[in-house]
Structure formats: C-alpha cells, structure tokens
Symmetry: C2
Subunit: 459 residues, 2 copies
C-alpha cells in the first residue's frame, strides 16, 4: 500500500474550493476576452535550448527538466532536451517569433496556464501555479495608448472578482531613469540596484532602505538620499494630483534638458488621461513613483495592483511595457505591453485572508428518489432541467431520505427536488432550498422555469 | 539567434484554431457540469513512487520524469522523484484515496487536463494531449444505474459538438467472459488475449483475426472460432433488437448455469433500458459484442463511440465499469464507472476530416478609428459594448481605413464599427458586417442592443 499524497509546493483543491477557483479563472478569462484578447496555449515543455536562451543563473536553477524513460537511460553530460515553462513570457516570445507571418499585429493574446519553478518548499510558495497573462505585441512599433488598456482590463477583472477596493498603481521607467540621472546616478546597472532597493520599500520600510542607500554599497550623499526618498514617496491621491505632478516633472525635465524625464512624464500623463477617458473611477488608480518592478525587462509604463484592505498580500497583478519581446528568436522588433495575474497565489492568499470561501456546488439541483418505482420520473425531470440549462444530478438509489439530504448538504447542492407518488398524482414536485431550508410545492410543468428564476436570484 | 520551435508531438494552434478547440473543451465541460459532475484538477506531476505503482513496463517506458536542476546535479541511481501524469485515472485514484474522508460518495468528478506520454514521434500521435474524463466513484458499492448515465453524457456532448451522426456502442465484460467460458476458453489470461485480438477486428478485418485465432498462438477449433466470430459480429440495429438478443442470451445462460453470462446480459439489458428512459434516440446507441476495451481494467459495462460518417477515426469516447479504483492507495473498496474523451486527438482528426475549421475570432467587434480626435468616442463605445457583454477591441491608431478593415478581416472579427465626425453629428455609427460585407448606419444609442441581436443570430 502506497501512501497517497501530492508532491510539496502544489495547490490541490477539494471540489467546492476548485469550483471557487474555477470561477476566478472564468472571470479572468471572460474579461480578457471582453477586451479583445485571443486565446493561446503552448506546450507545458519547451526544448531546453529554446527555453533557456536568456535566463540567468537564478532562473536556470529553478527550472524543471523533463526526460522520457528512454532519454533518462542514455542521459549524457548535457542538458536534458526538454524543460517545463517557468513563465508564459518566454513561450509567448517563441510563439510570436515562430508564427509571426500568420499573426495579425498588433497581436493581442491571453494565456491562462500553469508554470513551474523549482522553488524551495515553503508555505504559500508554489512550484506549480497558474499565470493569467495578457500582452499586446506590435510589429516594429506599438502605440503608447495600448499601455492604457492594461489598467482598464485589470479594473474589469478585479471589480468582477469582488474582492473589495483595489488601486492600480502606475509608474514609468523612463521617468525614473530621468530622475536618477538628474541625481547623478547615471549608470544603468547602478540605477537598477537602487530601484531594487526601492522595490523593497513596502517590505523593509523607509528607514532601512534609506540606511542601505546611504551605506557603503551605494554611498549616496544624505542630500541625494533625501531627494530620492522624497521622490519615491510620491503617491497621487487623485487623478488631478497625478496629472499636476507629472506636468511639473515634465517642466522640470524640459528646464534641465532631461529627455528621459520629459518623455517618461509625458507618457505617464497620457496613459493616466486615457484611464479617465475609459471611465475608470478616480480613486481606483494612482501614480506611485516607488513602483519599479524588479526585472530589467520593462522600459516604459509599469503596473502594480494592491488590494486596499489587504496590502500585505502585495501586488496581485503586475506588468509593464517592454521594447522587444523576442530578440533571441527573431530579427523583427516586437515591442509589447502586458500584465500577469498569479491566480494560484492570489486564490491561496484570498482564502487565507477569508475573502474567498468554498463555493456552493456547481451542481444546482439534486433530484431525490423516494422509491424505486419513481426512477423513470426522476430521469425525466433531470432531462428537462438539463435542457433548461440547470446542472442536475439524479439520486440513483432510493436510500433513506435523510441520507439523500445529507449528501446534498455535504456536497453544497442548493436545491433538492422530490417527486413521490403523491406528488406525481397531484402533478406537483416538492422543492427544498437547502440554503434557506424552506420547502415548497411547485407545479411539475413549471419546475424548470421556477428553478431558473430562483437560481437567477429572483427569490 | 535560436530557431523558435516546439518539441515534436505537441499540438500548438494559431488563435482562430485555438478558439475552435476552446469551444470544444467548453462544450465538454458544460455538459459534464450539466450532468452533475464536479471539477477536479491535479498537479501535472506526481511523486514517481505514487504514480508508478501498478503500471507495467509499457506504460513505464512512456513516462516522462521531472527533475529540478538541483536534483539533476545530484541524480543517483534511482528513479527521479517526480513524473508527469500519463492519464487522469491514476491521479483520480490517488486523489480519492487521499481525500476520501472529505468527499461525498458517490463522488462524481470531471477532469479536463493534459497528460503526457513519451510516444514515438509520428503524425497524429501526441506526447502532450488533453483528456476529458468523468467518473462516478462509489464507496463499497456503486449502483449499476450509474453505468447508464455515461451514454447520456456522451450523447449530450457529441450532439452539441455537432460533428454529425454517432453511435454509442455498449458491451459488458461479464457477458463476454460468460460466453468465452461456454466455449471452453475459461482462463482469464487467455480470454484477455482473445479479446485483444477481437479488439483488432475493425483494424485487421474478420479474416485476419479468424486466422490468428485458429493459428498456433490460440489453437482454437474451427467450430469455436466460428462461434466466436459469429458472436462478436453482433451489432444491434435498434433498441428492441438489443433487448431481444440480451434476453435470449440470458435465457441461454440460465439454461446452461452460466452465471457470468446471465449477470452480464441482465446488466447490459438494464443499462440499455435506462438509455431509452433517459430519452436517447434509438439509433444513437447499439449493443456491439466485439467491444472489449484493451485493458484488463474493466469488469462490467464498456463503451466506445464512433462517428457514423467517419469510422476510420475509431472510438472518440471510451470507458467502462471497474471494480476498484484505488487498491494501491486505500483499503476501501471504490468501484466506479467512467469515460474519457481524448480532445487533442479528436480535434486534430476532425480538422483533418474537414469537420472543424478555424473559428471566427472571439473578438466580436472592432471599433475603428477614423481620425485621432475620435479616440475618446471609440473608447466610450467600446466601454458600452463590453458592458453589454460584447467582446470588443479598439483600433488605437487612425491608420488608413483599408488597413483597419484588413486587420479585422485577417483576425476573423465579424463586426467593424466606425464613428467619424459626420456620424457623430448625426448620432449614428456605421456598422459593417465583414461576414456578409453589408454596411449600415445604426443609431448610436441603440448600438449595443443592435449588435447583441445580430450576434445572437437575429440577422
């Protein structure tokens, strides 16, 4: 006998939790499609040679390699032929480069699949997790306006998820670069290091970050550190304040001949203006100069999204603009902008925070069986309900009624329908709502319409 | 520069094919839910020790093992710790055994995920493919009536898929065993071998199978071979004929004291009777005594489904009844019945047969942009359409109109909406249906309702 168990670092759910999780994925997918993104799925494994072109040591150490039994037996020195994807961006780059001539640009794709990382096993850290990505990829160029679509999609998704207030925070890497150049931090590598420290603001706190920046690793003067900390402390409290601050920065940049600052401030102002044009409520987005996104990858607009009541969860949806998606695979220049929701981690954290519970069953009605002779009637009722679009299960054995109710209750099924001889003689069925515990008789001919109305929330 | 390419043996689709494939998966999922099955997802990899308990050499040779970089470096002699699932049945067994106390029985689960087999690369053979499974698992026992639910689900799925006529073929392993015992082929192993030959009837033809059975490997007498071939040649041409043949077999069994034959014929007759009770049309199911299903796994009812116009595709949905799901993981007896649709292979074959083409885009409307000053209006229109549940993309740059139409056409988007200054002044929008190539003006205020009606097929 083998003990049945999953490997560590995966999230496997019981059905009612799986239903809640599936609803989350459905909301994300529906909204991605609503905004005109097209579905793409890629294989779980890629050729290692293709997957691992650009990733550095850190990523490579976390990669899972795949070998068939045959390959394992004759394994040589080299890297195994296949590896599991560790994100959806590298597969997207490979996909766009491979199918470039068959795609219409700007290419708008969504992709909702699991990715794999050989993370150290740790509570809340997953080795297998869903990413839900959208990207718009241009050929040669991609208009800045697409950067303003991302917050609109994020807004639609998180509004429908119903997880409370949230704020979509925006920044611009050019703006940041321009600011740092003005502080005498001109070198790209050094900016990246400072940005990485600033990215830790929320986790480490202002004092700790200030100390690091003034310390031996960075050696910034107290004055520069003050200006940096003051700058990155900015977080707009409304649309007009954001626009005003960006105007002022742009003017500063123009006065100083700081091109990066001018471009960055102008880009961010245009994106913010388009958020209002799309009807996003003022309070749901903010400019935040501390947002840098760890990776070197982004070159313009960057996004992070936080739940107002649950800042400890961190960003639930992040992304940004990049200059060239697929330089390793194609000579074409393919700039893009995209965001990603880590759905497994998000679901796990929302559940930990008590914001998501087990769902009611996806089964909406259980047709009970009062005695064996009524089975054909049960099957007929179930057929009608299914025809009306209602998810219906049939009790196949005439067990004790108490046990049938118990089963429906444990399974989270809302309605139980019963039709005994007495009911059949009167052309009615008994309907019990296990949520309200109320029971009523409904004319047999009107059962499907009755249940559809109840399920649609009309009582 | 690395050549962008996928590993052999995977099916990666362009967006419009992916949309068609996604619709197939959605139909399957919706119908599985309609019949009261609950979603389960398991991790792509299992602990090798757990996954490979019972599988024989053949399966094991096809398994993909998974190792993180760290594990690869210190790889010892033994089997790697993780392996990719090769079906959804072993993960289901592990899942049910692991979560037994938290589940309500009979446990009805559906699972739509990809599985992995290190197949020899060959056209139409996939190393990564979707399986779409449903199973009902009982604790200690499971009523035979559940066997009759499977064909009802199959019927609903394939009717909605709209791939032409199909026949759900049924048989019963006890009935087969009883028949073979009566022919003096009593040993289980030998029955299995004969059954495996019979399973090749469609592929090899009757003569070749007959020769093998009469030849040195089996050494059956000509008379026995005749009886076997005659028996397995039975395929009912309607409900009543099926019931009559099963009654006759049952009577034969009773006369001969052949318990297996009696039980098998009675079970199959009850299942067939319940198909009619559920309203399945007579011509859509048939009893076929040649259906054996290769595996030793099944113990009662077995199913195969063929497309009437495309028999060369073989069975598109198969399954059956088994006595004990999880004997390797649990002391509980967990009998079950289930079916599986190999969606990747099915989609690929339907496309090869010309039964499925690329879908229209999931994007239903492209809001064009006639000049830059109209962008805010485009965004407002898109917001309204999305609010009305219409998947809408916005043209973000005022490119030449011909190019905008070209893009919509290439992308398979049905409607293009245009609102220039002239239209705006008259409070109308121009709507072009790229399917019919007809263009009309529609009042701006009624645009969403107009498009919803058109998309719902009312014009």
């Amino acid at each position: 006998m083998i003990k049945p168990r999953t490997p560590p670092g995966v999230m496997e759910l019981l059905p009612r939790d799986q239903i809640a999780f599936q609803r989350m994925l459905d909301v994300i997918r529906r909204n991605y499609e609503r905004f005109g993104f097209l579905p793409v799925e890629t294989p779980v494994f890629e050729l290692s040679e293709v997957l691992l072109t650009k990733s550095g040591g850190e990523t490579e150490r976390q990669v899972y390699f795949v070998q068939s039994t045959g390959a394992l037996e004759k394994a040589g020195e080299g890297m195994p032929e296949l590896a599991l994807r560790f994100d959806l961006t590298v597969p997207l780059a490979r996909y766009v480069a491979e199918h470039e001539h068959a795609l219409a640009f700007p290419f708008r794709r969504y992709q909702i699949q699991r990715v794999y990382r050989g993370e150290r096993a740790q509570r809340g850290r997953f080795r297998e997790f869903y990413q839900c990505d959208i990207d718009v990829i241009g050929k040669d160029s991609l208009h800045l306006r697409h950067d303003a679509e991302m917050p609109a999609v994020i807004h639609a998704v998180f509004t429908e998820l119903g997880v409370g207030g949230f704020t979509i925070q925006l920044n611009n890497r050019k703006l940041l670069r321009g600011f740092f150049e003005a502080q005498g931090i001109a070198e790209g590598e050094r900016q990246a290091l400072v940005l990485r420290e600033i990215d830790k603001l929320d986790k480490r706190g202002a004092e700790a970050v200030r100390a690091t920046l003034a310390g031996p690793d960075f050696g910034l003067s107290g004055e520069v550190v003050d200006r940096v900390m003051d700058f990155v402390g900015f977080r707009s409290s409304g649309h007009d304040e954001a626009i005003a601050r960006l105007s002022a920065l742009r003017a500063e940049g123009e006065a100083a001949g700081n091109e990066s600052l001018v471009t960055g401030a102008a880009e961010l102002a245009e994106v913010v203006a388009l958020l209002r044009a799309q009807g996003l409520p003022d309070g749901d987005y903010a400019v935040n100069f501390s947002i840098a996104r760890g990776l070197d990858y982004y070159t313009g607009t960057v996004y992070e999204t936080v739940l107002d009541e649950h800042p400890q969860i961190g960003s639930v949806c992040s992304g940004g603009r990049y200059d060239n998606l697929a330089s390793h695979y194609s000579k074409s220049k393919l700039p893009g902008v995209g965001i990603s929701i880590g759905a497994t981690r998000l679901f796990w954290q929302l559940r930990e925070a008590g914001l998501i519970g087990a769902a009611e069953s996806s089964v909406q009605v259980l047709v009970g069986l009062m005695d064996e002779s009524r089975l054909a009637d049960s099957l007929a009722i179930a057929g009608e309900l299914r025809g009306a679009g209602i998810n219906t299960e049939v009790q196949m054995e005439a067990k004790k009624l108490a046990r049938q109710f118990q089963y429906a209750d444990k399974a989270g099924i809302r309605f139980m329908v019963l039709s005994g001889e007495d009911e059949a003689a009167r052309a009615v069925v008994a309907v019990k709502d296990l949520r309200s515990q109320q029971q009523a008789e409904v004319p047999r001919a009107g059962l499907a319409a009755h249940l559809r109305a109840r399920l649609a929330g009309e009582g």
